[in-house]
Structures are given as C-alpha cells and as structure tokens.
C-alpha cells in the first residue's frame, strides 16, 4: 500500500505518463480507502488516478475520483477541469468546451483550462483553430514549453516545417537540456533539408546522450548527404575532415551498439543499410 503511494508520488514527480501503471497502483488504494491515510497527498493521488483512468478509459474509476474531489473541493477550477477531461474522454466535446470556457471566464489566466481548450479544438479536428488558439495562448504564457511543443506538433501535422522549427527553437531555449527536443529540432531541420544545421543538432544530441541510436542514424544520414553534395563555402559549415571523422564515428558507434546488443536480423539489416549508404 504505502510503497504504492510512494511509487505514485514518484510518477507524479517525474511527470511520466503511465496510465496503466497508475491505475493498477491507484485503484486498490482508492477502493480500499487507504488513500485517505496519506492525507494531503490523497487528493493529488485522486487527481492522478482520475487522469490515468480517463486515459485507459476506466470511466467508473475516474468518475469516482472526480466525485471525491468535487465533494472535497466544490467549485475548484482544477477539479472542474477534470470534469472537462472526463467529458472529453467520453467524447462529449461540446460539454467539455463549455466547462473550460466557464473556468476561463472565472479566471482568464487558468493555464490548464486554456491548454485543455486547445487540445479540445485539436481533438475536434480543427487543427487551424487549435493552432491559432495555441498561438494566442503562447503569446501570453510564453514560458510554457509544452505549449510550444504542442504547437510544433500541430504545425508538423500540417507539414508546416518552418513554423514547427521556430516552435522547437523556443522549446530549446526553455528546455535546452532535453536531448529529445534537440532531436526533434534536428529532424525537422533535416526534413527541411538543412543538413548542415541538422548535423550539428544531431551531434548535440549525441553529446547530451551518448550513443543515442536515433542521433547516430541522424548523423549518418546528414554526413552521407553532405559528403555526397559539394563542400559548402560558408565558414560555419563543418569542414570535410570533420565530416569524415564524424561519419566514421557514427558508423563505428552504430556498429558497436548493434554488436553490443541487437537482434541478429536487425543488426545485419542495419549494417547492410550502413554499407549501402
């Protein structure tokens, strides 16, 4: 029981998203009422479980949690938002929208609501509206990198790579330490066929996270491209020997990684792939 609570807290702390796990841990807690033992945290657990339940579509549990929360905090925006999410889950998007709207009228700076609203639009399949809403939102809550990520994704769906890149840049400024973002940015650049930059970003990824396969692949791609193409004139561009070195490195690493642990088939394939580049 207790360690279940502990695990839940850890999950909360590292905002990982494992709805199934959360539900598996949380359900007994809540059903047995043991949750009340961890007094202040209980409500957080409720919230957490509620969201998770929604994700895995256990509406009953979610409802139960939300009920409990409403009973405890009547008229709390935070709880209301959960309601909204519930509606979303069951697909009553309009009701959800209504709720978020209400919350926002209550407090126009309620970030959660605002974001949910955007997600809602997206869910309603109105990407453009979603984008505009999100832009508006970000114009205010500039520092919310998640928002920017969302925006980037939206743009990507619309294949608007330039804008996506812009968003990612913002994200990079806000969360410069996360290699995933660098990776994403790199791939966007690559998609934009800006191989120079892409290469650098991929390198950064490798720098941040050693032997990151995806990064290595990225590098490989870039280098092969760049090497094929004529050496560029501009100063910032990577020098040929560096390119070669990096290329070599990437190859070496990839092989190393695969040989270290990698299913035979995939290994052979990848090696083949490397050769045929």
């Amino acid at each position: 029981m207790v360690n279940a609570a502990k695990l839940l807290q850890d999950l909360r702390a590292s905002a990982e998203r494992k709805p199934d796990v959360v539900v598996r841990l949380g359900k007994p807690l809540i059903d047995s009422g043991a949750v009340m033992k961890l007094d202040a945290d209980a409500w957080l657990v409720y919230e957490q479980v509620a969201i998770a339940a929604l994700d895995v579509g256990d509406d009953v549990l979610a409802h139960k949690c939300i009920q409990a929360l409403e009973a405890k905090f009547p008229g709390s925006a935070r709880v209301n938002r959960l309601n909204g999410m519930k509606f979303e889950a069951v697909g009553k998007l309009t009701e959800a929208a209504a709720i978020y709207k209400a919350i926002l009228e209550e407090d126009e700076t309620n970030v959660l609501a605002a974001k949910r609203q955007v997600m809602l639009l997206r869910a309603m399949g109105l990407p453009t509206d979603a984008i505009s809403a999100l832009v508006k939102y970000l114009d205010i809550n500039y520092t919310d990198f998640e928002g920017w990520l969302q925006l980037a994704d939206l743009y990507l769906e619309e294949l608007m790579y330039g804008q996506a890149a812009f968003c990612m840049e913002e994200v990079l400024m806000l969360q410069s330490q996360n290699h995933i973002f660098h990776l994403k940015y790199a791939e966007i650049l690559y998609t934009q066929e800006n191989y120079q930059l892409a290469l650098k970003q991929f390198c950064r990824v490798i720098e941040l996270c050693k032997d990151h396969v995806r990064g290595l692949y990225g590098i490989k791609l870039c280098t092969s491209r760049l090497l094929k193409s004529a050496p560029s004139k501009d100063a910032t561009a990577t020098s040929q020997e560096d390119l070669k070195a990096i290329d070599l490195l990437a190859t070496e690493r990839l092989i190393a990684v695969y040989s270290a642990n990698g299913a035979a088939s995939t290994k052979s394939i990848s090696t083949k792939w490397i050769e045929c580049l």
Partner: protein, 325 residues
Amino acid sequence: MGAWTVLQERQAMLLDPAIRDWVLIPIMIVMVLVGIVRHQVTVLLNGTPKKADLKSARETKALQRGGILRAHGTHLPEHAFEARKTFLSDAFEKGTYEKDPNASSKPKGNVMQDPAYVETMMDGMKKNMMNIIPQTVIMAWINFFFSGFVLIKLPFPLTIRFKSMLQRGIETSDMDVSWVSSLSWYFLNLFGLQSVFTLILGSGHAADAMRDMQAMSTMGMGAAAGPQMGPTGQPADMHKIFLSEKENLDLTEHEWGLENVEMRVLVKYGKLPRSVLVDYKKAKSLGSASSQSASSPSSASAQIAAAASSSPAVTAGKKKGRRQV
C-alpha cells in the same frame, strides 16, 4: 583572544539544577514551539497568489522572454537568434507587450491608489512582521524572565568581545566568557534549531517545495505573479524596464553553442585530444570580439569537464518521456 584565553583557567561552577529544569530546557521547547507556530501562521497569513490579469501576465512573460533569449540564445543557430532579437527589440521599443502601451505618457499617480501595489505591499509587510515580531518578542521575554544568571557553559572558548553581550547582567569581570546567560542560549537556539525545523516541518515542507516545482515545470503554473516590482516595491515604469531590456538585448552578441559541437563530440569519444578544444578556444577568443573572451576560459574548462564526465545511465533513467499532453 590569545591574551584573554591565557587569563582564563578552567573554571568549574555548580549551577542550580532548577535553572536547567526551568530555563535551559523550557527556552528550547518554547523556541521550537514558536518556530512551528510561526511557520504555520506565516502560511496562514500570506495571501493566496492573486490572479493576475492576462495583460500583466503577458507583460512579465514578455520581459522574461527577453531575458531567456539573452540567457539561452546560445542554443539557437545564428539566424533564429537574430530574427528573435530584432523582433523583440522593436516590440519592446514599441511597447507591444506593455499592459497599457501609453502608460509611460500619463503622469505617475499616487502609488497608494494602485490596489495591486498596496496589496503586494501588505503581503511584504505581513511576511516581515512574521519574521521580526516573534523574534523580538521572544528576546524581550527572555531578557525579562531569565536575566541575572548564568545558564550554561559553551564547550568552546570565545573572545572577550562577546562578554558584554553574552554575560549581560552578570556583575563579575573574571568569569570565563564561555559561561553565557540565557540570551546567548537563545541565539544558539535561533541558529541551531533551523535544521531541526527542517526535520520537524521539513518533510512536509520539502514535499510542498517539490510539488510546487513540479507544478511549475509541468503546468507552467505559479508564474502568474503580480505586476513587476522594482526593488523598492515601487511599481516601476514598465516602459523604462522594457527599454532597458531592449538595450540589453541589443548589446547581446550571439554566440552559438554548436559551432564546434562536432569537435566536442569527437573529443568526447576520444577521437581527438582534449587540447583541441582549448586551442579552438584560443583561436576563437583571439579572433572574436573581446566581449567573448571574458566568458571563454570558464566555458573552456566547462567543456573539458563536460568531456570528462559522462553518465548516460542517469539521463536515460530520468529523461524518459518527459512529455505530457
């Protein structure tokens, strides 16, 4: 110090156990109690973070934006940086982000009429009160109650300078300074109990901190602060602030952190000697403007350190799926 400690032989004295039972321990207990109560009351008193209206939020965020750009611009490639720089600086100049762009033109009214200002003011005062009042009260209480006798012997020597302070109300000149009166015991507690508080309140406290932090990092919450305050608590003229921010921006030279990333990677994998980086630095600092040179050595070493330590395990462990919809 020297001279004095020579003077003092080891002085043994018997103290009335009643002092221990009725002063030494009680003071400690009371201090702990007061500490707890104070913590609770402060929490009660400081007002809920009041909802800022969009405009002001936007205002502050915009400013942050400038700051962030300056701070972390280095992660951006040249073009991206320049684009933002230009955009922001003229936005600031125009005051696009200000709460009411024509604020600067209208004459400064009495700050007291600005409710936001007053409120924040009150908050600040309340906090200060909570810090000052209990201490002064306790001090007075102790001076009043427990004066005129020695309370305890510090197990370490002190210089004669403390005598007048630590032995207030003791009318002898020959007493070793390490015999101290209740006031100094109070101070000892004041400082010593801090960590005890972190033990008592701490756990819950820490959890709070964690929660807030998480809330911030994930939901971008809590950052909704009131209007920008100058150090004096005066609501400073936003336009000025923006302008200054702009100037900062203009001064900022962009320096791209990925310029030599390949080299770094190579070094990291030991394909190149570490020295390369340093050489690179040198070359760079020679080549580029002097403004960089200031920051260069530190970063050089930083990179070396970077190259030195590497621990994928942790990052992999902690980085997994830090995304949320």
